[in-house]
């Protein structure tokens, strides 16, 4: 049986129900047991006429990124969809409204833009919609039905999903939409079939301890928070992090957690750190501009050695930048953006499951190493849907606070005692005999201000060295190598949401016969230098692709290893094109070969 691998793009304006159609599509397919990866593009404007695109790739085995070319494009608004016709592969399909509207300008109808190699599927969407639902409200559903019929997906699962979607509304609405779907479906079934598209059977997972669901990165963060028993959350809305707070606002109270929308990000992180001080498992979420505002308070978290978790979903920068576009350009800020020697832990998951894992583990680390922990996502990962397997039993501790015991409290409690593992036992407010005052001033073991040179040296060392233990924190992937395990010509060193594209590029390169391997670095601070150096040792050329202008990760790696890498940067506001990466990988593979030949020649010369 052939594996399924279909990518569908639905394009229209916000008012057309574009995102909603994509949502039903991906939920239905995920229900059907397929693997899904999906990503929507929203307009930056406030009001609803901007372009929306919903892209859904459905596969039998989990894949790591969207394809650059879609198999099917559904147009709900030709003016928006026309620039995207080129994104449909050869022999791919374009589904569109074919009822001529009088007064349409030359070239403004999509049919004029479909290339000869692509297959046009026109149908009277509006007419059907108007017939089935009053006032043309179900155009998106008609088109969706047509698509499902064309490709041959089972209709029942769509019916269920539509019913889910309209749950809470009048039954009539569901019925009308199901009818609209069926009308479209019937037409789709009847028409000539599309080549190279098969919907195989979905695979069933056999992992009894896990639940398979489909969710995006922000939802996975929320699930991670809930499974880690988050107690308090303080946040301020900002795209693309807002949905984390919004979902937590619904979920946390149900289990007695407390969430407060603060007056700004400074207040959010201050309250988070205050709650952490009081022993509460606590977090906040923001994006670049908010993280910038938190810089000073994070420094306090460092010196005071208090736990806090900061979810940061990056968008295009700098400044307000591109609020609805993706980018990986807040790495510098996350890693370096504090006054003084202010290292903290920075985790950057590379996929939705990683968002869940990093979210939960961030709490453990924040408590165990007594430090702020930044979990660095970006818009692409926050909003990207993937099928994920989540454990039924929470894999996270309820608390990892190192509590002060009786013996710690006897004879003058030392909040910053120099201990073997460098994390000092913490007395929490309310605890008998543990009274102490903490401060952002440099201090001695008791926590009293001290400006003695020796003390500052020792405390600086304590604050930095204790973080190293995080590199071997229980049950989390800090870094991982994929593909060829031996020496390779090109090693791709990637991070964050972009790593999916790195993997796809690596697999493609290997198909072309290039010796290639890819390593993801999840912990960006402190860096797992051992494995990174090993990887560099094994790689002829090290290729570091990322979605920012300055090559921030490349610079981070060079700074830490003093070894040179090939930085590859793009800032399109959208995921990196695997095809473009491949061009670069091929070039590097050639360089490597040339060098090898050069070396051999030199060696031969010398020998001669």
């Amino acid at each position: 049986m052939k594996n399924t691998d279909i990518q569908i793009s639905i394009c229209g304006s916000a008012g057309d129900g574009t995102i909603a159609a994509g949502d039903i599509l991906k939920r239905a397919l995920a229900k059907g047991g397929f693997k899904v990866i999906a990503f929507d593009v929203y307009p930056p404007e406030i009001r609803g006429f901007g372009k929306c695109i919903s892209r859904v790739r459905v596969t039998t085995e989990q894949v790591y990124s969207l394809k650059h070319h879609s198999d099917v494009l559904v147009s709900l608004d030709d003016s928006h969809a026309i620039p995207h016709v080129g994104e449909v592969r050869d022999s791919g399909a374009v589904i569109y409204e074919d009822t001529p509207i009088s007064g349409v300008l030359e070239g403004s109808h999509i049919s004029a833009h479909i290339s000869p190699g692509q297959i046009p599927y026109g149908l009277p969407v509006r007419e059907i919609s108007e017939k089935e639902t009053s006032g043309n409200r179900s155009r998106n559903i008609v088109a969706l039905g047509y698509l499902a019929g064309l490709i041959g997906m089972e209709p029942e699962i769509f019916h269920e999903t539509i019913a889910d979607k309209f749950r809470g509304k009048a039954i009539k609405i569901t019925d009308m939409n199901v009818a609209a779907f069926d009308k479209g479906y019937a037409l789709g079934q009847k028409t000539f079939k599309l080549d190279d598209v098969t919907v195989g059977k979905a695979k069933k997972s056999r992992n009894k301890d896990a639940t398979i669901t489909m969710m995006n990165g922000n939802a996975a963060v929320v699930q991670g928070c809930m499974d880690a028993h988050i107690k308090t959350f303080f946040g301020y809305p900002i795209t693309p992090a807002t949905t984390i707070m919004e979902k937590l606002a619904t979920e946390m109270p149900k289990v007695g957690g407390r969430l407060l929308q603060t007056e700004d990000e400074i207040s959010a992180i201050a309250a988070t750190i205050g709650a952490g001080y009081a022993g509460s498992r606590c977090a906040t979420a923001t994006s670049g501009p908010g993280l910038a505002l938190m810089a000073e308070m994070l420094g306090l978290g460092v010196v005071a050695e208090l736990p806090s978790v900061i979810f940061v979903s990056q968008r295009g920068g700098p400044s307000t930048g591109l609020p609805t576009k993706t980018e990986q350009s807040d790495l510098n800020l996350a890693v370096y953006g504090r006054g003084g020697d202010g290292q903290i832990i920075v985790l950057a998951p590379t996929n939705v499951e990683g968002c869940y894992k990093c979210a939960g583990k961030a709490f453990e680390m924040a408590e165990q190493y007594q430090t702020p922990v930044i979990v660095l996502l970006d818009l692409y990962l926050s909003n990207r849907f993937e099928t994920v397997e989540l454990p039924k039993q929470s894999p996270f501790t309820k608390t990892s606070n190192k509590a002060a015991k009786k013996k710690d409290l006897e004879g003058g409690y030392k909040r910053y005692a120099f201990t073997k593992d460098l994390a000092s036992p913490r007395a929490l407010p309310g605890q008998e005999n543990g009274m102490h005052t903490i401060t952002g001033l440099e201090h001695n073991e008791l926590g009293r201000p001290s400006d003695q040179p020796r003390m500052h040296e020792d405390m600086s060392a304590k604050r930095h060295n204790k973080l190293l233990a995080a590199l071997s924190h229980h049950d989390i992937t800090i870094e991982k190598r994929f593909g060829d395990e031996g020496d390779v010509d090109v090693g791709i060193l990637g991070w964050g949401s972009n790593f999916g594209e790195c993997l796809e590029a690596m697999f493609k390169a290997r198909e072309e016969g290039i010796r290639c391997s890819a390593m993801k670095v999840v912990m960006l601070s402190p860096l797992p230098l051992g494995p990174i150096n090993d990887f560099m040792d094994a790689s002829g050329e090290v290729f570091v692709p990322e979605l920012n202008y300055e090559g921030q990760f490349a610079n981070l790696i060079q700074g830490a290893t003093a070894r040179s890498v090939h930085s590859y940067t793009r800032v399109p506001g959208s995921p990196m094109r695997v095809e473009d990466m491949l061009v670069e990988i091929r070039r590097l593979a050639k360089i490597k070969k040339a060098k090898k030949i050069g070396k051999t020649k030199k060696a031969k010369k010398k020998a001669a």
Binding site: A270, Y277, A278, A403, T439
Partner: protein, 297 residues
């Protein structure tokens, strides 16, 4: 209200005094680093005696401060303490209290800390009625950084950043806090420690957000304006017939900046932030609030 003492309160007197009662438990082993004669000594004295009188245990008390001479306060009391950042006293205190309802949280800080850099947080802690006490040490100057103008510096006052003259009209903190919806607002004076202690006690006892404004001379950087000499002549007790449930009357009184009335301006009972959050828990169908952080022992 007691007699207004005209002499500054010296460290030595205080030490002798506190040794004679049970308040020693609340006093840190570290001696205050304030200048002799600084008004802050009275406040520290007042807080310890209030806690003692209210029988709130040191272990259940958290004093949160910002940065400034005033904000060194937590080091000088034997409770849990958090000396945070300049201006961030209130949001940190909000976090502490939200994490654990059982704690008595006292926020302290200076006029610069609270009304300059921290000014954005005031209205929100007030409207949310966070159940903490905020004690504002108003000396009308930046003490720790050695004497620059503050938002409460008088017009015409000369400081290192206004070497010619200060032309910025000072804020009226009491009026502001009243307009923000604070549920308890009062004023004390460091030169009248007896009355001050009573006010602190009331403020801490209040359920909800209490704001206590304290006039406190900086003997080192202000030799001319808010001195004991001048303030002694200006302050006066609030008239007995003042109705502390009358917001407009409180606001009117707050406008009397040249003869600052000392005492309780306003008091109101209304749900606290925690009440609201508990209500949300119920509305969500969720269980009892489980957030109170307990030491694992």
């Amino acid at each position: 209200m007691g007699n207004i003492s005209t002499k500054p309160v010296y460290l030595e007197d205080k030490l002798a005094e506190i040794k004679s009662d049970g308040k020693l438990e609340y006093r840190s082993k570290a001696l205050p680093t304030w200048c002799p004669g600084c008004g802050y000594f009275s406040i520290s004295e007042g807080v310890t005696s209030a806690l003692n009188n209210l029988a709130i245990k040191p272990k259940d008390t958290v004093v949160v401060s910002g940065i400034g001479c005033s904000s060194r306060f937590p080091f000088f009391v034997n409770t849990y303490g958090f000396h945070t950042l300049h201006g961030r006293t209130l949001p940190v205190a909000t976090g502490v209290k939200t994490a654990n309802d059982d704690l008595t949280v006292i926020a302290v800080g200076g006029d610069g800390d609270g009304f300059a850099i921290g000014g954005g947080h005031l209205s929100h802690v007030a409207r949310r009625n966070v159940n903490i006490t905020y004690i504002l040490f108003d000396n009308g100057i930046y003490g720790l950084t050695k004497g620059q103008t503050s938002p409460t510096s008088s017009l015409g006052f000369t400081t290192s950043t206004t070497p010619y003259e200060n032309h910025d009209r000072p804020l009226n903190p009491l009026m502001m806090m009243l307009s923000f919806g604070s549920s308890w607002v009062g004023q004390g004076y460091a030169g009248d420690p007896g009355h001050l202690g009573e006010m602190i006690e009331q403020a801490i006892a209040h359920r909800g957000f209490s704001y206590l404004h304290i006039l406190s001379p900086c003997v080192t950087f202000d030799k001319t304006d808010k001195t004991y000499g001048n303030l002694n002549m200006q302050v006066k007790p609030i008239p007995d017939d003042h109705d502390s449930s009358d917001l407009m009357a409180a606001i009117a009184m707050a406008q009397n900046v040249h003869k600052p009335p000392l005492g309780l301006y306003y008091k109101e009972d209304r749900p606290t932030l925690a009440d609201g959050l508990d209500e949300i828990t119920q509305q969500s169908g969720g269980g009892k609030n489980v957030v109170t952080a307990k030491a694992a022992e």
